[in-house]
Symmetry: C2
Subunit: 420 residues, 2 copies
């Protein structure tokens, strides 16, 4: 009985967050969108916010917009994100991209521990983060090296593996809280404590966590963090990222990019850089205001729903998806590439199949299901509890079963597109 469409509808009826789906533009109601972990849906309020930002603010207020909300937007929106991650309002600012923010904070951290020669990350991290760390290590110190902790199962990294690598030579431990492929989630407080025992700073990438995982950066004693706003925060394509620096560290660290938005009193136009006293010092140039303003309504929605209820629904939905997989898909050769243990798993589930890329393509092109694919074999189903329904999950599993059973994916090429 629990695998019927009726049961899924029943679960949706019991869902206390169900009303939030109406806050989003859905359009084609037959399209099952399971890629909110890559690009979240468009909130209806954002349509209004953008018309206002473009047509009223830019169009009619022109340069006066800077004094009427633009100049303070990065801090105002940062303060909202702070509420989602267990930080104070003056510890978060929205600025630049995740990569640029990671560069700024990693470089600052390495320079703050000049006698130490090691930056630790893991091989499950976003490759994009590893690239930035490789560059920062090379630039900041000729003797510094990046060490990647291996994953024994390709899905998770054990605390023991970390413990053997983090030592008194470690300047910085830079990890992603929720792994982008498997959805594996670290115990943030435990790993932070481990790093601190060695005197290292800790930097968490929250891209796949913020908005869907309860986070307590302050009480976990986290030093530094970065994250994006376009996944579970529904901020729009490439929306500006955020960074967090714990208050007591802010004046000990210096961004390598001495931009005027990070200067004390930038409109004095003095010729020498003096960093601002607070979190502002980690800003760089003029922020892309339209993209920044577009990010705000999605953050408001998460605040209204509450991260804990979102997490509760996310767990129910990923468990439901895994139960359906077990019943319908496991026998068809689809492996579970995500942790089975609930508390070690974020809000997406990865399934492994040698033909995963072609299955994803068949789902997108023929079956009106949008998952995504990550090399080498991960078919990712992202659950975004503010708009994903149980009925969609049920349908997506059905359609995936059809694609595999009927080998519908065989008519698709395995040639990789640039982006999926």
């Amino acid at each position: 009985m629990t695998n019927t469409a009726d049961y899924a509808v029943q679960l949706d009826c019991q869902d206390e967050l169900a009303g939030f789906r109406d806050e989003f533009i859905i359009g084609d109601s037959e399209l099952i969108y399971l890629d909110g972990n890559s690009l979240g849906r468009l909130p209806k309020r954002t349509v209004e916010q953008m018309r206002c930002a473009v047509e009223r603010q830019w169009g009619h207020r022109l340069v006066r917009g800077w004094n009427e909300g633009w100049f303070t937007a990065a801090g105002r929106i940062g303060a909202k994100i702070a509420q989602l991650i267990g930080a104070e309002a003056d510890e978060v600012v929205v600025t630049d991209s995740t990569s640029v923010n990671l560069f700024k904070l990693a470089t600052a951290a390495i320079q703050a521990r000049p006698e130490r020669r090691k930056v630790v990350s893991d091989e499950l991290n976003f490759p994009s983060d590893l690239y930035v760390l490789q560059g920062a290590v090379r630039l900041a110190s000729p003797t510094c090296q990046l060490v990647l902790v291996p994953s024994l199962d390709g899905i998770s990294v054990s605390d023991d593996s970390l413990r053997t690598v983090i030592d008194s030579a470690t300047a910085l431990v830079a990890l992603t809280h929720t792994s982008f492929k498997s959805g594996f989630v670290y115990d943030m407080a435990a790993v932070t404590e481990m790093a601190h025992r060695s005197g290292a700073l800790v930097l968490w990438d929250l891209c796949h966590s913020v908005g869907v995982m309860p986070l307590q950066l302050n009480s976990s004693q986290v030093d530094l963090a970065v994250g994006c706003t376009y996944k579970y925060l529904n901020g729009g394509p490439g929306a500006p990222a955020f960074l967090y620096v714990r208050r007591d560290l802010q004046e000990q660290l210096l961004s390598p990019i001495w931009g005027w938005f990070g200067r004390r009193a930038p409109f004095d136009f003095k010729l020498n850089y003096e960093p601002a006293l607070g979190i502002e010092r980690f800003q760089a140039g003029t922020p892309p205001m339209l993209s920044l303003l577009a990010a705000e309504p999605g953050i408001d929605l998460v605040l209204e729903a509450g991260v804990q209820p979102i997490r509760t629904k996310s767990i129910r939905q990923t468990e439901y998806l895994i139960a359906l997989w077990q019943e319908h898909l496991e026998g068809l050769g689809l492996k579970l590439n995500s942790p089975r243990t609930t508390q070690c798993r974020g809000s997406h589930v990865s399934f492994g199949h040698a033909d995963g890329f072609r299955i994803a393509r068949a789902l997108i092109r023929d079956m009106r299901v949008i998952p995504d694919f990550r090399e080498p074999d991960n078919l990712r189903f992202g659950i975004s509890p503010l708009y994903t329904t149980f009925a969609e999950i049920h349908q997506a599993v059905n359609r995936t079963r059809q694609v595999i059973e009927r080998r519908l994916y065989e008519q698709h090429s395995g040639a990789r597109a640039q982006v999926t």
Copy 2:
């Protein structure tokens, strides 16, 4: 006769670019906007472009938007800017902010000349550029220093002054083509040649030039350049900036920020950074797509009008403004803080007055004229030939005269706002 309102109207009637004003949202037709050198007006096409980007692309195409134009937008729009600056399509990309781009290119340049210990700029440069250069110098080399060539008159910098400072120890000469305060314009080809004779690389900031000054980066042998899109290109508040790297230098230089958008084949998700082969290597993280797309229609308009006709009109309008100043404002104590020589002046004119800040405030609040103010005494009147009319210039001078003659500015405080 030449100082009458009728004459101004007559000049507008003879203006071949007059029709372009209809391409912009004007709104309050009594408001005289002379701050297009800070934030350009909103093109009508941008309203449509943004509705499409937000509502159709993000709202309905969702993550598929990346394969339907977003992923290639930075290069596509960069290629359009290349046409405006005398460069090839594969030498320009739109990415990050001007500050971040300057950081990337300056750091790369200093590292490409490791045996040299000097970066040369001037004291008329944007303070924001000087901050970035100070940070880049500090990061890239402990023995490197930034040397600022002085301005003898506060308005311009002589080639002789540059010549005494640029030498065989110089790694990089980083200058702004059109000075943000005085509007002074360097001879790009001559200065570039001077730097090259010493074996230095040259980096031009084009923020106050692009879209209004004819530029020939290739034929001037320019190595590197950065610039913004929100001034004369009308790209919107904080719209992403661009960078130029001459083709033969691209593979000799490495961005310090090893972002995934700068990697060869980023969607292979390999763990080691390998820079892309071309201009793409100077990108960093995921671009703020809404702000990026908003920048495109303004660039198209400049391409349609042509930079040379824009420059011709700009010269007519700044000369007209200066003639009116001479007749009406010079006697009231307003100095000319811009070069009198046409070919040494960009598209804005600065006037100096001890009460310049309060005069600007009175113009904005009481007289419906928007100039801007730059410390210590510069009242800037920006001419944006695609929409500025001769009648507006005539009116602005009249209203400025009233403000000074009647001492209307005295009712305004001199306390500085954050942004003007």
